[in-house]
Structures are given as structure tokens and as C-alpha cells.
Symmetry: C2
Subunit: 449 residues, 2 copies
């Protein structure tokens, strides 16, 4: 591999092992090594690796601790200062102007159970490489940016171990307090506070604040980019999501002698609700309504005792709140009927009520210009899932770009090397422009202050 | 309370604090103290007591160990020798004729999660009191019985923590080996061997063998006796039961972006199967077909990841194997349709295939005569649920009697004091007759040898 390749890859086809790209201002001079990034990605993916080719690094687990340690070491070795805040968010900070706001870039290192290598982890490593490239450019060019930079690993994005999801980024965005988040418990009754302390990531450092802007690259986990043959997705909207915890209350009795007509079976009630949720999407509009129940807890969960309690985690997602409202109404009607027919009681707790979010147009435009500057085609896309960038959008201009990948939350999750390297290159361009103050409206600086 | 009350209570109305009853041979002379039994029952129920008035003493748990210790102490204090066998069955043995077969009486101390005070524990304490009454009678009368006596607490009858149920009694009845049973693991991956060792009940003593006969008293957990106003049920049949573990295999993916028509949702498949099981009973014959799914395990059980694996524990029970066969066939047909429509795969593992069991008529007759001798009305009943007496019936004449109680596997499980004392009295009469060789056909002695 050489360091003198200056050609620019386009689309998802070619693998670019090295690239050095220049934006319109000619700011770049340091060659970027895509192969080095891919090698680091492989090293990182060995932590918590599963037999099926994925990773399992549940939030604040031993494996999450190990991958955090690995990333922290990498950042220290590349001249970043490590900070860990009260909710365990891990930052690598590099300051050019003490006291100036921060451009923050990052994603999350936690995974689903038997999750993929890329979901979140790719974004954190991409942010580390992008920030380090900028750091080296600044050394080479001598041109000091307006803003400092921070690489972030946000705690418990997945929401697999602790609910809700987007926890660390939501605390950063001041949508909930660290104390509220730390008090949450997993399925075994272990609090996030205990779990973070257990891996040495219950911190007390100041967060990089105020944010000047935020940038994140993530795999798409859908078909949009692949089908269009476009390497970069510019996320402009996030689907609305209503999420409920529904408790189904029946009555514990013996599955043997208890007459069928006397049973109040909470698991039977839960089964009807799971099907009702699916039926909504099938009958209303599966293209613009995604529904699911994917977590269920039952008591006593004994083969020969009728279930007394079942808790379901229901998600309804749509790009149209009117569709969501209609779906919610129909679900409640179906659930009322289940209450009557199965003789169970239902208790609803709304865990998430997320409206459709339109990301700041100036950020979308900045991302588009960045991709264009390095010769990559891009298109606007929506994101169905929440991402840390969506939470952080509440306090600053937030940019989210996607690279092509199809299935998500699966060990077989995959993106091509070329697409992964493209994503790092675009992110580098975006954070470089952000740190130099491009397209950031001064009114927006530290917006949440 | 006095010791000189010799009247005999009839039916479920009167509480008999003391009773001394004589069978036709005039063998009895020791007064029986019902109040003492009820006091012991209260003491025992304090172990693992729950806020809702029940107990939680899962098999081989700390609480199971505590209640075993309590019963073992009681037995030692009443001149019984303690033995613990390879599967953790706890015996209190009293020998009059070394080398002679044993009349065994007992039940189980393990409970369901949030179970009732009486299910199993009542039968063990009743057996301890009945055996001790006989022991005292023998001392008073000087008439040495033909057979020795053993009180038994059978390990893991419930099948709540370790599947299948009836584990200790099935090992005693040589239907499975101790090694097979000890290798079973609970939902947390802890083996029965480890769990028993943890509470000090992984034994190596000889079992009381050969059995001359077996007797057990249990609460009915149904409406038959209560509705008939009869205090003693003579169990003559046990419903057949087919039990399956069904694995539903889908594909893990993201509940957000994954298009609805690409999902292979194992939990959705499971929901259809749960409803299919219930529909069978409703449509075929709910009086003679009881169906249930009461335990479900899912993976990854994360709110935002489509379920890849769900395991269901299905039970089909009927007093008629033809009904059961028809139900099983219809279930498989419905399940095939679920496989197609939800795009999941199903794997079946049959855990239990129990035919209708007719208990030995001579035992039913012995129980009827015993109730009659002490002035209690009785009626024949069937048992839907399996009991240890059903497993032991495979190796010896086994007698099972019920006392009235309605709801089972529930903290609110209840029987009147009078009915509980009646049950102890009948059991005393039964084991007395058995130990003196009454109604035991000599061909049946040590039948399984």
C-alpha cells in the first residue's frame, strides 16, 4: 500500500485503500489511509466476537468495557484526552482553543445480543479516525480551527439491556438527567449505575460543552442506498415512534385442573396483542407503518402455571404522525376487545413519544457539499430507527450520514470496505468544515445554553 | 385443647382439633391431635412465605433447603432416620422389621413461583404426622407391622424450575436415572446437581426399597369435591398428557427499518401457536381437553430487534387419548400454516407422553374403606394434573386421596382446617392398613424388582 494515491473513489464499487481529498478551500494535505481504518475495524470487532460473525457487547457489560478500553487507548495514542461523564459517555477530546465550543462526532459501542460488528461501533471508530485526520491536517497546515473536537461513545444507544434506547446521548442533550438514567435496571435487576461502576466507566468528568455541532456516520440497515446505487445517504428526517410497555394482568392458576373457561391467561392476552400489532401494519400501510413487539417478560413463566403477568414492549413507527395516531387508536380498540374476551387487564406505560424529526437543513446541505467535495454521490434518506444524532439534534445542529447496508441487528450485518471508507472520508470532510465554522449559524452555537 | 375428644367429624364443616379413631380391627389407641398438625403447617408455611399469603420455594432453592431442613429436624425428633438419595429425595425412615419392604408416603416441598402453602407441602407434613401416629400406635399396642414406613419429599415435583415435573418420584420409580435428572438445567443454566449440592441435598443414601405400597394426600385444585360437598376424593384415574417444547426459529433484524414483509418474527409465530393451542380446547371440547402454553423463552428479547428464537412449552391434557390424538393432529396442522404464513421454522421436542393412568382398584378400595372407617364420606375423582403418586404407581400399588380446594398454583390456594385434618386422618388410616398388610396383594410386593 502506498501513501501517494490521490484518486477519489466513487460509488460503492472500488475499494480505496488510501485517499487524500481536498475540499474547495484546499484545506487537506494529509493522506488518509482507508486500509488502516479497516484494520482497526477488524481489531475492534474481535472484542465480544460471536461464532456467527457478529459481536455481543451489551451496554455496560464486560465486553462493552473491553471495547471502550480499546477505543480509549487508541484515542490516547493519537493525542486525545479521555473524559468519562456521569452517564458513562466516553469522550476523546482534542482542544485547539481552550474555552471554545466543541464539534462532537461519534456513535455507540454497545450492541444488540448477537448484534453486528458495524452498528454503532463503525461510527465511533469513523469519528476517531476523522477527528485524528483533522488533528493531523491542523498540524500540517498550521491553520487552527474555530472549534475544538470531541469523539463520543454514547452509553446504551441500543436499549437492549436498559430501556429506553439513546440513553447517553439523551442525557448529553439534557432530555433526561444522569441520575434518572443511572437508576434504570436491566432484566436481572442490575442498575446502570452498578453496571457502569463494574466496568470502570461511571465517570465524573465535565462533558465537552457547549456543542458547536454534531456529526455521525452509521450503517443504513435498509435498502434505500443499495437499491439506488448511491454511496452516501443524507438523513433529513427521522420517523416518529410511539413505544409502550404494556402490562397484561391475568390470574395464576394450574394449567392442569383449572377449567378452561375460568382461566385468565396473561400470555394468551399477550399473544392476541402481538398479533394485533402486526395486523395494524399489514392492514393500514406497511410502507409507512412499522409495528413490532420484540420483548416479552412473563410471570411465573412455569410450564404448568397459567401466566399471571406479561409485559410487552410495543413499537409503532411512521413518517406520518397521522398514520401513527390512527394506528394507536386502532391498537387500543383491539386491545380493549382482548381485555374483554381473554378476561385480562391491561396497563399502558408510554416509554417513548417521538415526533417526526426534520434535521437542520443547513446540516443536510453541509453533508451534501462534503460528499460532493470528495466526489461521492449522495441522496436524502429518512431514518426509521432512532440514532444518537437524533437525540443530540435537540441541542445542536446535528448531521447524520448513512453508508449502504441492508439487514440490521443481526450478526450477518454487512457493508463493503469501499462504502465504509467512503463514510469515514465524508465524516472527515464534515467535521473539518464544522470545526472551521462552515455552515454553522452563530445563533445555533450552544443552542441549549 | 384436650386430648380426650373421640368424636369423628364428617364433611367439611366442623373443625376437629383432636381425634382418635378406630378402624374395624380396633387397632387405634393413640389420640390424634389435629391442632398440632395445623400448628406445624403454619410453622412450615413461614419458610419462603410471600407477601400475598403463599410461599415461593422453587426446587433446590435456598427456601427449598430451609423447608427440607425443617422437615428433616421434625422427623429426627420423632424417631425417624433421615436419608437423602442421589436425586435429592428426602426420606424419614422408621423400621420395625429390618429388610422388610417399605410403605412410602409423601409428596413434595418445592413450590411454584408465588405458589400456595398447601400444594405438596401439605402432603409431606400429613405423611410425617400419619407415619408418626402409626409409630406411636405401634409403641402403644405392641403390634409390630409387616412393613417398615418411610416419609418422602420428592425433588422437583412442580417442574417450574427444572423441566420435566415429577422428577424425584420418576427417578424413584426408575423411569429415568438420577444422572439424567441431575444434568437438567434451569433457565439460568444452573444444573439440578449444582443446585442440590448448593443446599446440601445431593445425597448418596440407599432409597427405601422395595416399596410395599405408596400413599399420598394432596389438595384437589379443582371444584369436584367442593361442589359435591364430599370431604375425601379417591383418585382413580389421571388424565393423559402430551407436552411439547416447540422452538420457533425466525431471523434477527431491526424492528425499525426492516420492511414488514421481510420480517421473520419468531415471537409473532409463537403468538399464533399460543392462540392455536387455546382455540383447540375452545372448539373441540373444553370439558375433556385442557390446553396451555405457560412458559416462553425468547431471544434476543430486545425491544427493537425482531425475535430470532422463541421456545414454547405446550401442554395438551385429556381423559381420552383419542381426543388428545385429534387435538395433537389439529395443532400440528395449525402450526404448519403458521410456519408458512409467518415464515418461521418449527422444531418439536416431545417432553412428556403420559397415557391415561388407572390407579390400582385395590388401592382405591383401601382408601374408600379407610375413609369410611373414620366416618368420612368419599367419592371417586380423576386428577388432571400429574402427582408424585402417579409416577410411583409405575412400581407399586399407589393410593392418592384429595381434600377439597379450588384454585391451584396460586398464593390464594386454600383448604379449610377441617378438610386438612380429615386428610391427615384418612392418610393415617391408609398407611396403618398398608403397614399391616391389608389389601396389599403379595404378588405386588416389590413389583418393580
Amino acid at each position: 500500500m502506498t501513501d501517494d494515491c490521490h484518486s477519489v473513489g466513487r460509488g460503492g464499487g472500488a475499494t480505496r485503500s488510501n485517499s487524500s481529498v481536498a475540499d474547495s478551500s484546499g484545506r487537506r494535505s494529509v493522506p488518509f489511509d482507508g486500509a488502516e481504518f479497516l484494520t482497526d475495524m477488524k481489531r475492534m470487532s474481535a472484542i465480544g466476537a460471536t461464532a456467527g460473525g457478529g459481536v455481543q457487547r451489551l451496554a455496560a457489560s464486560k465486553e462493552d468495557g473491553e471495547v471502550r478500553d480499546w477505543v480509549a487507548r487508541w484515542l490516547r495514542e493519537h493525542d486525545f484526552t479521555i473524559r468519562v461523564d456521569a452517564i458513562g459517555n466516553l469522550y476523546g477530546v482534542h482542544e485547539w482553543r481552550p474555552g471554545a465550543p466543541y464539534v462532537v462526532c461519534g456513535s455507540h459501542l454497545d450492541s444488540q445480543p448477537l448484534g453486528g460488528q458495524l452498528d454503532g461501533a463503525y461510527g465511533v471508530l469513523a469519528a476517531a479516525h476523522a477527528a485524528d485526520r483533522l488533528r493531523r491536517q491542523v498540524v500540517a497546515s498550521g491553520e487552527t480551527p474555530m472549534y475544538n473536537i470531541a469523539v463520543a461513545d454514547w452509553t446504551n444507544e441500543e436499549g437492549a439491556r436498559f430501556q429506553p434506547s439513546l440513553l447517553g446521548s439523551s442525557v448529553y442533550a439534557r432530555q433526561m438527567t444522569a441520575d434518572e438514567a443511572l437508576a434504570l435496571v436491566d432484566g436481572d435487576g442490575i442498575s446502570l449505575r452498578e453496571a457502569l461502576a463494574g466496568i470502570g466507566y461511571l465517570g465524573s468528568h465535565d462533558v465537552p460543552w457547549p456543542p458547536a455541532a454534531y456529526a455521525e456516520v452509521h450503517i443504513e440497515q435498509g435498502h434505500g442506498l443499495e437499491e439506488a446505487g448511491i454511496p452516501i445517504g443524507l438523513v433529513s428526517t427521522n420517523w416518529a415512534a410511539y413505544k409502550y410497555e404494556i402490562e397484561v394482568i391475568g390470574e395464576q392458576s394450574h394449567t392442569g385442573p383449572t377449567p378452561m373457561d375460568e382461566r385468565k391467561d396473561a400470555l394468551l392476552g399477550a399473544a392476541h396483542l402481538i398479533i394485533a400489532a402486526r395486523t395494524l401494519a399489514d392492514e393500514l400501510a406497511p410502507e409507512v407503518l412499522h409495528t413490532s413487539v420484540a420483548r416479552v417478560l412473563t410471570h411465573p413463566n412455569s410450564p404448568n402455571t397459567v401466566t399471571s403477568h406479561a409485559t410487552l414492549f410495543l413499537e409503532l413507527r411512521s413518517p406520518d404522525v397521522d398514520v401513527l395516531g390512527a394506528a394507536e387508536k386502532l391498537f387500543f380498540e383491539a386491545a380493549d376487545e382482548v381485555q374483554r374476551s381473554v378476561e385480562v387487564k391491561l396497563i399502558y406505560r408510554q416509554a417513548t413519544k417521538r415526533d417526526v424529526l426534520h434535521l437542520d437543513r443547513r446540516g443536510v446541505e453541509l453533508a451534501r457539499l462534503s460528499a460532493e467535495a470528495i466526489g461521492l454521490a449522495s441522496m436524502e434518506v429518512g431514518t426509521v430507527a432512532g440514532q444518537d444524532a437524533i437525540a443530540v439534534a435537540g441541542v445542536t445542529q446535528s448531521v447524520l450520514v448513512f453508508v449502504p447496508s441492508t439487514i440490521g441487528h443481526n450478526e450477518r450485518e454487512h457493508a463493503s470496505d469501499a462504502d465504509l471508507v467512503n463514510g469515514v472520508d465524508v465524516l472527515t470532510e464534515i467535521v473539518t468544515r464544522m470545526c472551521h465554522g462552515e455552515l454553522i449559524d452563530s445563533e445555533e452555537d450552544g443552542a441549549a445554553e
